[in-house]
């Protein structure tokens, strides 16, 4: 009884703490913010139903990510097949915060657009490693692929993102106002 109560509350706490991260991951899977909303909602309900499975509260974030991806692959992806196949996903640039200064926003929007244009496998990997800070090993566990696959996906993604980012040239140009 106590265990059930605690695991349910731990899952509720994790949902509250990690909702933004799971939503971002859902966005990277689906490429569309309305689907990300649905996917997050479905993920949280599923997690709550399965709170009995929780034996440790240490890695609930990656558990939520795994559930999210499983629901995407098994239940939502086929329904969103048009969007998923097209993958000419409209980059939802308006998602970028307007709090920062204009230059920062333009740069963030460029990077955001490039990431969203990546193929789905690269996009989900970039999101877990670059954005959410998971190690290659942890991302390999969540995505169920070997660590070498994670690294080669990231290598391919880096090549495509370079044109938007180019830290040296783009960075110094922005700073010197060129």
């Amino acid at each position: 009884m106590d265990v059930d109560l605690n695991s349910e509350q731990a899952v509720r706490g994790a949902i509250q703490t990690h909702s933004k991260r799971v939503w971002r991951f859902a966005l990277s899977l689906s490429g569309a913010s309305d689907i990300a909303d649905d996917l997050l909602q479905a993920t949280c309900l599923r997690a709550l139903e399965r709170h009995h499975q929780v034996t440790s509260t240490a890695r609930l974030d990656s558990w939520l990510m795994t559930i999210c991806r499983s629901i995407w692959l098994n239940e939502i992806r086929s329904r969103s097949v048009r969007k998923a196949q097209a993958l000419s996903v409209t980059p939802e640039v308006e998602l970028i915060s307007q709090d920062a200064d204009a230059e920062t926003n333009i740069f963030a929007a460029e990077v955001f657009t490039k990431v969203m244009e990546l193929p789905e496998a690269q996009r989900e990997t970039v999101m877990l490693v670059f954005v959410e800070g998971y190690s290659y090993r942890e991302a390999a566990d969540i995505l169920g692929v070997p660590i070498g696959t994670i690294m080669s996906r990231l290598s391919n993604a880096r090549q495509k993102l370079k044109s938007a980012i180019q830290p040296d040239e783009a960075g110094s140009d922005r700073r010197s106002g060129k």
């Binding site: 109560l5 509350q9 706490g13 509260t57 920062a100 800070g133 998971y134 660590i147 690294m151 980012i165």
Partner: protein, 250 residues
């Protein structure tokens, strides 16, 4: 097989031949410490992270069924001790998961990241560096341009007991982070790092801490953050710390 930072950076830039790249990927699968080193050098990751850090701008709305026992909006005279305990437990679980979140590696500060990276340096790492005046000229020119301020090379070259070995450009969340590496008389590696935090960054007095097994002193002033890292947890920092805090004060 050992890989230099230059080789790892070339891998991250996609500039290596297929065989060497595969050798790195195989080694990373075997050695978690190489994975950490490679991840710390990735120039693209921090910029992507910065672009997404405010996405979504607001916490998403989630519709969850009421928990059992039902949550209570506020304490009322009718609330039994069991319910009070349940609320207390719920608050503490959220606090615990917030603590897990706070202690995850991901949101680590620049100083902790720099210390993790520096802790992987061995005497062989610095022995392999080329500290010729020509190499240092080029490194300092590039580093100072990225940083937008002088690195006071004349001071760094004359720190007592230390040999200047290299200035290297790193990046943390899109901000330039310069690592200046030294060797002490025994050839042990030490480092001094400067990060450009931006004009609005708060000033911080010198704080001492042992990070990743290294004695460190961090401070911040005028939009820049600084960290001096010793070669182990007991490295004396005081003498050089005084010189650095004085010479880097505007």
């Amino acid at each position: 097989m050992k890989f230099s930072d230059e080789t790892l950076l070339a891998y991250l830039e996609g500039d290596l031949d297929r065989d060497t790249a595969s050798a790195i990927e195989d080694a990373v699968a075997e050695h978690a410490e190489l994975e950490s080193r490679l991840m710390a050098l990735d120039p693209i990751a921090p910029m992507v992270q910065t672009a997404f850090e405010n996405v979504p701008a607001k916490a998403p709305v989630i519709d969850l069924p009421e928990p059992e026992p039902a949550p209570i909006a506020g304490p009322s005279p009718a609330m039994g001790i069991g319910r009070l305990l349940a609320v207390a437990a719920s608050v503490s679980v959220i606090a615990v998961s917030a603590t897990f979140w706070a202690t995850r590696p991901e949101p680590m500060g620049w100083a902790e990241q720099a210390a993790i990276y520096q802790s992987l340096y061995a005497p062989e790492t610095v022995a392999a560096l080329d500290p010729s005046p020509e190499a240092l000229d080029a490194q300092f020119a590039q580093a100072e341009e990225q940083l937008g301020r002088s690195l006071n090379r004349d001071v760094l070259e004359t720190l007592p007991g230390l040999d200047l070995k290299r200035a290297q450009i790193l990046s943390f969340k899109g901000k330039p982070l310069i690592q200046v590496v030294f060797a002490d008389a025994q050839g042990q590696p030490l480092a001094f790092c400067v990060i450009r935090q931006g004009p609005g960054a708060p000033a911080k007095n010198v704080e001492h801490a042992v990070l990743s097994g290294l004695a460190t002193a961090t401070w911040a002033q005028d939009g820049y953050g600084y960290i001096l890292m010793g070669s182990d947890a007991d490295s004396p920092l005081e003498g050089n710390l005084d010189i650095l805090t004085t010479s880097f004060a505007s």
